[in-house]
């Protein structure tokens, strides 16, 4: 076991090595924006859960004792959702640990047993999942306690703490078992880039569908003020029956609420052990073999015959961008699949906001809301462009030795990202037009707004990355970690989207209040187009001004 502790010591040393370097520039703005973004997401989650929980608790059908059932269901489904999500993330993390070479090409040569490396990797995953479990389940438990008035006191919070500790254990154990078939599935998908992209699109589509269902509940809640219209008596009976048998989440919830606490906790612990033991032995057999195969490059070899023929520099740079993104699974997922599916997210969001606005005002501001949603989602989708330079990895610096100007390199990237954004906006226009949410004229205006906002962000994000690139140091040159450039650009982008969107809604509202005999669509479109165009021009000036000097000095940021 000493080797496991040594491996952790190595991790701690690596993690803090950056702080020990003298004269290292600290990216304070990036850190602050990351913290603000995370704090905002956390606060929104807690508030949304509280509002939902309060309404959900009131679905009693005039039987007061049903309130306790609702609170029990809330906690059970929360624990269950955390378990499922953590299990899915755990499968991915364990798969990465099994197949990603990273530090393993060093570790495999050292006198460290395979199961110790596995143990060290799984404990690392456990700590990360424990943190997320604390951040989600503790506020959920506090809210359910406050709402139910359950007088469990110290015992309630004591068992909550145990449940929080056990949840990542259960998910890690289950993930360890599922990681093996997942590895075989991923090997099947290896080098099948288009099939993989299609699967990603379907996966995100399915996630949006679930999201849409959730939004339906929210819109109904907003329309009626009561969830009983969605959750009818029969539905609630089914939900209760499922919650009662939703193991292993039910073990933990029952323990928290003091129902055979010791026995339920014991069952949860036994289940953990029952899952971990076979997983441990399976991985022990599988781990070294999988790792060895990866280290030896035993993968299905992708072959493609290429004709040697000339293309223009720009066409070649554009093609390079496409190949790199398509053939790197995480990039294809983050950018291509997301850009294709974002339009459906926009549609869902516009539907929700339309319902919300109908409660506040009788004004028709569907177009302005669509503008806001498009701005927000194009900002989120194009945040990927903050890796435009870093994505080239070691070739990012090697480009400086090739006869190509910084302007040509950047233009290739702008064209690629611009083409993806235009495609995404075309789908947005088709979806919003076909569903009748907007008129053809509004759809056309929306398309241009979306494209201009996207281009503005692409240019700003590219320059930010050029100013402080974070080149990956792994062998495959893949950017895997988020950095402060991402959060800073996203925060600024969202702020812009909010101001522009809110401005157009305000214009529309004021024009209706003061009954100005001029179509509000024209004025709000003019406003948003001017704002977006100014932002776009500023971004392009920011990108191209002093580009040659910045590009030449790029080494300094390394």
């Amino acid at each position: 076991m000493r080797s496991v502790f040594l491996l952790f010591r190595k991790d701690i040393l690596c993690a803090f090595s950056a702080f020990r370097q003298k004269g290292r520039r600290r990216d304070v703005a990036g850190w602050i924006s990351t913290i603000l973004l995370l704090a905002g997401i956390f606060a929104a989650f807690v508030y949304a859960f509280y509002v939902f929980a309060e309404s959900y608790r009131s679905i009693t059908f005039d039987t007061p004792e049903a309130e306790a059932d609702r609170v029990y269901e809330l906690l059970t489904f929360s624990v269950g959702a955390v378990l499922v999500v953590q299990c899915l993330i755990g499968v991915k993390k364990i798969y990465d640990a099994l197949t990603d070479v990273k530090d393993q090409n060093v570790l495999i040569c050292q006198p460290v047993r395979a199961e110790h490396i596995y143990l060290y990797k799984i404990v690392r995953i456990y700590w990360a999942q424990l943190l997320s479990a604390v951040l989600i389940l503790v506020p959920v438990a506090v809210i359910t306690d406050v709402l139910s008035g359950y007088a469990g006191g110290a015992a309630y919070y004591g068992f909550t703490a145990l449940a929080v500790l056990l949840t990542p254990f259960l998910s890690c154990a289950a993930a360890s078992l599922l990681a093996v078939p997942y590895t075989f599935f991923m090997r099947f998908l290896e080098n099948k880039y288009l099939l993989r992209l299609l699967l990603y699109i379907l996966l995100i589509g399915a996630a949006f569908w679930v999201y849409g269902r959730i939004l339906l509940v929210i819109t109904t809640l907003l329309d009626s003020g009561k969830l009983e219209f969605v959750f009818e008596l029969q539905t609630m009976e089914r939900i209760h029956a499922v919650a009662a048998h939703l193991y292993p989440a039910a073990f933990l919830t029952k323990a928290v609420f003091g129902a055979d606490a010791a026995l339920n906790l014991l069952w949860a612990i036994l289940l953990c052990a029952g899952l971990f033991l076979p997983a441990y032995f399976l991985i022990r057999i599988f781990y070294r073999r999988a790792l060895q195969a990866r280290l030896e490059g035993e993968s299905r070899v992708f072959r493609r015959r290429t004709a040697f023929r000339r293309r223009s520099r720009l066409a070649s740079l554009l093609r390079k961008e496409f190949i790199l993104v398509l053939r790197t699974p995480s990039y294809a997922f983050q950018y291509l699949a997301t850009s294709v599916t974002v339009p459906f997210m926009v549609y869902q969001c516009v539907s929700l906001m339309r319902a919300m606005m109908s409660k506040i005002t009788i004004l028709d501001c569907d177009y302005e809301l669509a503008v806001f949603a498009v701005a927000v989602f194009s900002i989120i989708g194009n945040t990927f462009c903050t890796t435009n330079i870093s994505r080239d990895g070691r070739m990012g610096m090697f480009f400086k030795t090739l006869p190509v100007t910084p302007k040509e390199i950047v233009t290739g990237k702008l064209l690629f990202c611009g083409a993806v954004s235009v495609l995404s906006m075309v789908i947005v226009a088709v979806v919003l037009g076909a569903t009748g949410l907007l008129t053809p004229l509004e759809v056309t205006a929306l398309f241009f707004v979306g494209v201009i906002v996207s281009l503005a962000e692409i240019a700003a994000a590219t320059r930010k990355d050029l100013s402080s690139p974070v080149f990956p140091t792994q062998d495959n040159d893949e950017v895997t970690d988020s950095n402060s450039n991402v959060s800073l650009i996203m925060l600024l982008g969202l702020l812009f989207a909010f101001l522009a969107g809110a401005g157009s809604v305000l214009i529309s509202t004021l024009m209706s209040i003061y009954q100005i005999g001029f179509p509000s669509f024209v004025l709000s479109t003019a406003f948003i187009l001017v704002v977006a165009a100014v932002a776009c021009i500023l971004s392009f000036v920011y990108l191209f001004r002093g580009l040659d000097e910045k590009y030449r000095a790029m080494e300094e940021s390394l």
Binding site: G297, F302, R309, R310, R311, S316, K320, M397, E555
Partner: protein, 249 residues
């Protein structure tokens, strides 16, 4: 038109300091390399060989000095200067997600190499470096040596006037290393210049016409190997190393 003996590379008074470093990595360094010769850069680890090469390629910026390739200033006319350059980096930087052929095509596109020339060059280079059918496979599946081979091929696809190599022998099997040395000699005989850094004095003695010894970021010595018989060259190099660096090899 460049003739044999014309200056291809000229570095005058080069100073380079890394952003976070206190001392200069290269100080007042001057050297030149002519068409039809192979020039070697030797020195200990961290002496400044790679830094000099990287400044020459535009990979690194520099504080002071003048660098020209075929008479074109690397700073003022970078694109045209780099068109005459074929560079093999020490880290085998390539796009791993491309196939070898796609990568060669990409580099040729950036150099605007005509279709016919690149087809002839690929055939020619394939016979030297022998990547075989692996040229159609993804580079991420290549071994270290194969990475080095694809970098070598990419550096020559456009027939550069200057072939610049940073530690090119590292990671190559003995046959390929020998083939590379033979090709360097063949390439200089075509009227081109070859400049490379190496720790391997034996290889340098066998291939180079002139050698610069770099120590502490400065040119510590210079040797014209053509003035000595082949059998004495390695001995002369070792003696120069011992005299200037203070260590026997």
């Amino acid at each position: 038109m460049i003739e044999r003996g014309d200056v291809i590379v000229k570095i005058e008074g080069l100073y380079k300091k890394y952003a976070k470093a206190k001392a200069y990595a290269v100080t007042d360094l001057s050297l030149e390399c002519r068409a039809g010769e192979i020039v070697g850069l030797i020195g200990r680890n961290g002496a400044g060989k790679s830094t000099t090469i990287k400044c020459l390629t535009g990979y690194l910026s520099y504080e002071k000095g003048k660098i020209s390739i075929c008479g074109r200033d690397v700073r003022k006319d970078p694109v045209r200067a780099k068109q005459e350059l074929g560079y093999v980096p020490d880290n085998s930087a390539v796009f791993e997600q491309m196939t070898g052929a796609e990568y060669l095509n990409f580099i040729a596109d950036l150099h605007r190499t005509p279709t016919g020339v690149r087809q002839t060059r690929v055939r020619e280079l394939q016979s030297v470096f022998r990547l075989g059918s692996r040229l159609d496979s993804m580079i991420s599946t290549y071994s270290h040596g194969m990475h080095q081979k694809i970098c070598l091929m990419a550096s020559l696809i456009h027939r550069p006037k200057l072939w610049l190599l940073d530690e090119p022998i590292t990671g190559l099997d003995p046959q390929t290393a020998a083939a590379l040395c033979r090709y360097m000699v063949f390439y200089k005989r075509k009227g081109n210049a070859v400049l490379y850094s190496s720790h391997n004095l034996d290889t340098v003695a066998r291939t180079c016409d002139r050698v610069y010894l770099i120590n502490g970021g400065k040119i510590a010595g210079h040797l014209d190997l053509t003035q000595f018989p082949a059998a004495e060259r390695e001995q002369k190099l070792s003696a120069l190393f011992a005299e200037k660096v203070g260590e026997t090899v």
